[in-house]
Symmetry: C2
Subunit: 215 residues, 2 copies
Amino acid sequence: MPAARRHFTRDDPATRQTALISAALDLMAEDGPQAATVRAISGAAGLSQGMIRHHFRTKEELMNAAYKAHMDAQIAAAENSAIPVTDPARTRLQRLISASLTPPVCDPRAISLWAGFIHMIRRDPAMRATHEAGYLRFRDRLQGLIAALLREAGRDPDEAEARRLAIACNAVLDGLWLEGGALPDAFQSGELAEIALGAIGAILEMPVVSEEAKP
Amino acid sequence: MPAARRHFTRDDPATRQTALISAALDLMAEDGPQAATVRAISGAAGLSQGMIRHHFRTKEELMNAAYKAHMDAQIAAAENSAIPVTDPARTRLQRLISASLTPPVCDPRAISLWAGFIHMIRRDPAMRATHEAGYLRFRDRLQGLIAALLREAGRDPDEAEARRLAIACNAVLDGLWLEGGALPDAFQSGELAEIALGAIGAILEMPVVSEEAKP
DNA sequence: TACATTATTATACGTTCGTATAATTCTTGA
DNA sequence: TCAAGAATTATACGAACGTATAATAATGTA
């Protein structure tokens, strides 16, 4: 006798796409890119494997969308911490640093995804564009805050100087992000942000943190 | 008529293994783990595909050996810069930092390999052991130099304090390493080391660099 | 020089991958 | 209520993967 066919209900294309993207990211974060097969992804999303090709032209396109979704979420989580424009630049910079070095931005999952995507980024032009746009967007935000902070302190950095400082500070953040995500148990809560504030203060040659007691 | 069989000459098992390891690392660095198939690896090594199973019990075992070889080379390149034990700790620390942030340690190839291996490291106990041993070996070396530097300056850090400082400094190095390898064109020669010296000086609350002019 | 040994090549096998196509079931509008 | 159409499932297909086995040729030794 013919096997009973699964029941199903229809849903928004957007909902289906989101479900597939989310499942792809979960699998990729947990066990790497080779675990994110079309069968595993659609299975984790509770769908049959044909859905990937129905909602995306190819698996590669799904992966591009997944990377973009992940990147947008990461940047939004970091940037949203710095938005009350009325606050002083130092406060906003502090919060941006802190948000960049605590979950969900700084997290084993984020590291795992970064590592899994990086080879695709290198090969696929569309993914590289997404990657560079996100990277530059964050760095520009950082550069703006640094320039504002220096101006608040009476200094007047030119564009090139601000850019140089932003690159250096961003490098420190990336490094600590990597470390914190790779070895989450090696640091106490807030320790990474504290290290970053010290290092960035040294780069900027001025204290970033208001008046926290030193040990 | 039967196809002509390839001619070959015999060679040391060790030589064959090295060739396979080297080919595996090249492919992995260039195009990621999924490019390092048994056919591609043996082909790149100029051998037939049976050689992998003849010289290693399984492909996974080859990958473990490849990771170990890569890690040993990386650590040796960094550590060898700090060996004249007669030099002052500050000089050796400077050189260790510099070596860690210039090729071949800090390099797109190294980043690519790190990203490619990280999921295997997480899953495979043998690889995780290799990974942690290498990480701790480097950090211990760093901690020793930091403690020596502080003692030279008249401070006397206890074990816990030295460990805390080493973790923080290592995080800065890792971060800059990542940044420099991911975006090699974003930094001028020596710029990363300069940033690291400033940041580590801030963490240690003492200058690490002798008397280099500031801009 | 002949022979045993084994490193090496060549081929085969079963599995899984991404993709393509066929078959079904849910939904909607007249 | 019922047929058209689209979303979804099910299945098929060729390629490539890791592994296993068979065939061959290079080498050391008597």
